[in-house]
C-alpha cells in the first residue's frame, strides 16, 4: 500500500505535475513538493510524496560500501556484548 514509484517530472501545471515512469506518463498531485522538470520524485497513490536525491543515493552507497569493506577486513566489529 505504501508502494512508492520513482519517476521524473517532465512538466509542472499549477498544483499538478506530469511524471514520467520509465516511458509511462501520468498527471499527479504536486501539492506536497515544489518540483521542476528533471526532478526525481517518489509517487504514491497519485501524489508526489517526496523528491528523490540521486546525490544522496550515491552518498549512501559510498558510505555503506566503506563500512562493509571495513567489516569484511575485520576492522569494524568488536566482540559481541
Amino acid at each position: 500500500m505504501c508502494l512508492g514509484i520513482p519517476g521524473i517530472v517532465v512538466e509542472v501545471k499549477g498544483r499538478m505535475a506530469v511524471v514520467d515512469f520509465g516511458g509511462v506518463r501520468r498527471e499527479v498531485d504536486a501539492t506536497l513538493e515544489r518540483v521542476s522538470p528533471g526532478d526525481h520524485v517518489i509517487v504514491h497513490a497519485g501524489m508526489i510524496i517526496s523528491k528523490l536525491s540521486p546525490k544522496e543515493a550515491e552518498e549512501t552507497i559510498r558510505v555503506w560500501r566503506e563500512l562493509i569493506e571495513a567489516i569484511s577486513s575485520g576492522e569494524e566489529l568488536g566482540s559481541a556484548r
Binding site: M1, C2, L3, G4, P6, G7, I8, R15, D20, F21, G22, G23, E27, V28, D29, T31, L32, E33, H40, I42, H44, A45, G46, M47, I49, S50, K51, L52, S53, P54, E56, A57, E58, E59, T60, I61, W64, R65, L67, I68, E69, I71, S72, E76, L77, G78, S79, A80, R81
Partner: protein, 390 residues
C-alpha cells in the same frame, strides 16, 4: 529496467556484489550474538522486498525477521467495510483502491461480505488508482459518491489535498479510515514485551511524510535500534546490518538509511495538510484493538466531507469495537509479529489469495498474501538464488 533513467539512481541498490558483501557482513555482525535477534519490519512493502528477494534465507540462524502491522488494508476494521457495502447496496457509488476492494467485512451479516461481492450483487463500486480519479468522476457526473479512504500517513495527504483545495465536489464524501503508524508501533512494543523485538526497520515512505524524527522515541524510550530504510534489497540488508552492529555494541540509535528520500523533519506541507483538515483521534485497528491517538477524523468545515456523519452512521467506538476477525483466523498475531503465516491452520488451506478468509490474505501487502505468493522459506530461497543474492 536497465535503460529506465527514472530508476538510474537506484541501480546500485540492487547490485549483486554489494548484496553478497552485505550479507556476509551481516553474518559477521551476528556472530556470537545471543539469539533470536528478532527484527521487525513494520511496513508491508519491506515485507514484500524481504520475501520477494529471499532475504530471509540470507539471515544467520540467530536472526529472525518478523513482519509488523504495516498493512493498512489488513488493519481496517470490518465495520467500515460493512458501512461502505451498505451504502453501495443503497445505490451510492463507492470508490476504493484495488487493495480494499476485496477486503471482507464482519463475518456474520446478510450483506455482501466485500465491496467486490457488493458489485457482483448489483452494488455500485469503482476501483480507482488515485483519489484524483474519484474527484474527476464525481465532478463530471455529479452522482452521490463515497470514497473509502484507507491508508497510513503516506496515503492520507493524497486524500486530503483535493479536500483542502476545494477540488472535491460536495457529492463526494469520504469514509476516513486513515491510520497513524508511530502510535501502533508504540502499542506493539507496549503490549507484547514477552516477545522482545531487538530492532525495527521503520517504514520509508511513511517517514517521507512524518520525517525520521517520528521514530526517535523507539531508541530513546525502548532502547531498540531503529533504521528508516528504503525498499530496494540493499536498503533492507543495510538496515539489518546497522541494527546488528548496534545490538553488538549494546546501543540503540535512530539511523536514516533512506536519506535520498526521507529527511529528519519530513514533509512539512503534508503535516500541515493533515493538521488543517483532521484531528488525531483514538481509532480501531482490526484484530488488534482501539489504539490511542492513532487515527484521523475530519474537523471543522471539512466535516461536511465525512460520509459517516452525512449518512447517520455512528463512528466506531471502543465499546462497539470487536476483535473483528473470522473464527480461527490468526491475522492479529501475524500482524503483531507474534506468529508466522505458516503457524495458522487456515494458511493456504481455507485461506488463499484467490479466496481470502482473513484480512492479511487480501492486500498485496498483507503478510499472509506475500508469503502465499513467494513462500516464507524454501521458495524464497529459490528466488534469492535466481537473483544471485545467495
Amino acid at each position: 529496467m536497465g535503460q529506465d533513467s527514472s530508476r538510474a539512481p537506484l541501480r546500485e541498490f540492487r547490485d549483486r556484489d554489494l548484496a553478497l558483501k552485505a550479507s556476509s557482513a551481516i553474518r559477521k555482525a551476528a556472530a556470537g550474538l545471543q539469539g533470536p535477534v528478532k527484527i521487525m519490519d513494520f511496513c508491508g512493502t519491506h515485507e514484500w522486498t524481504i520475501t520477494h528477494y529471499g532475504l530471509r534465507s540470507l539471515m544467520p540462524d540467530n536472526v529472525e525477521l518478523v513482519a509488523g502491522p504495516g498493512c493498512p488494508v489488513c488493519v481496517t476494521p470490518g465495520y467500515y467495510v460493512e458501512a461502505a457495502v451498505r451504502l453501495a447496496m443503497d445505490g451510492i457509488r463507492i470508490f476504493t483502491y484495488g487493495d480494499s476492494y476485496r477486503l471482507q467485512g464482519p463475518p456474520e451479516t446478510d450483506l455482501p461480505k466485500s465491496l467486490e461481492e457488493a458489485r457482483s450483487r448489483g452494488g455500485r463500486v469503482e476501483v480507482v488508482y488515485s483519489v484524483l480519479d474519484a474527484v474527476r468522476m464525481a465532478r463530471e457526473d455529479g452522482e452521490e459518491s463515497v470514497f473509502l479512504a484507507v491508508g497510513f500517513e503516506t496515503t492520507a495527504p493524497a486524500t486530503l489535498a483535493p479536500i483542502r483545495a476545494g477540488d472535491a465536489p460536495d457529492n463526494l464524501r469520504f469514509i476516513n479510515v486513515h491510520r497513524l503508524t508511530p502510535p501502533i508501533t508504540r502499542y506493539v512494543l507496549e503490549t507484547h514485551p514477552e516477545a522482545p523485538i531487538r530492532g525495527i526497520i521503520a517504514p520509508g515512505h511513511v517517514s517521507a511524510i512524518t520525517g525520521a524524527k517520528a521514530w526517535a522515541f523507539i531508541p530513546e524510550e525502548y532502547g531498540i535500534p531503529t533504521v528508516v530504510a528504503g525498499f530496494e534489497p540493499i536498503d533492507v540488508l543495510l538496515a539489518i546490518l546497522e541494527i546488528l552492529r548496534q545490538v553488538r555494541e549494546g546501543k540503540a540509535r535512530l539511523v536514516n538509511e533512506y536519506s535520498r528520500v526521507v529527511s529528519w523533519d519530513g514533509n512539512l506541507e503534508a503535516q500541515r495538510l493533515m493538521g488543517e483538515t483532521c484531528d488525531v483521534v483514538d481509532a480501531g485497528w482490526r484484530g488488534i484493538g482501539f489504539v490511542p491517538a492513532s487515527g484521523l477524523a475530519f474537523k471543522g468545515e471539512f466535516r461536511r466531507y465525512d460520509a459517516l456523519e452525512a449518512y447517520g452512521i455512528p463512528e466506531l467506538t471502543p465499546e462497539a469495537w470487536e476483535r473483528d476477525l473470522p473464527p480461527g483466523c490468526r491475522c492479529a498475531e501475524v500482524t503483531l509479529g507474534m506468529a508466522r503465516p505458516t503457524d495458522c491452520p487456515m494458511f493456504l488451506r481455507a485461506c488463499t489469495p484467490e479466496s481470502p478468509y482473513g484480512p492479511c490474505m487480501v492486500s498485496s501487502e498483507g503478510t499472509c498474501a506475500i508469503w502465499a505468493k513467494f513462500g516464507g522459506g524454501g521458495l524464497a530461497e529459490e528466488v534469492g538464488r535466481e537473483l544471485g543474492v545467495i
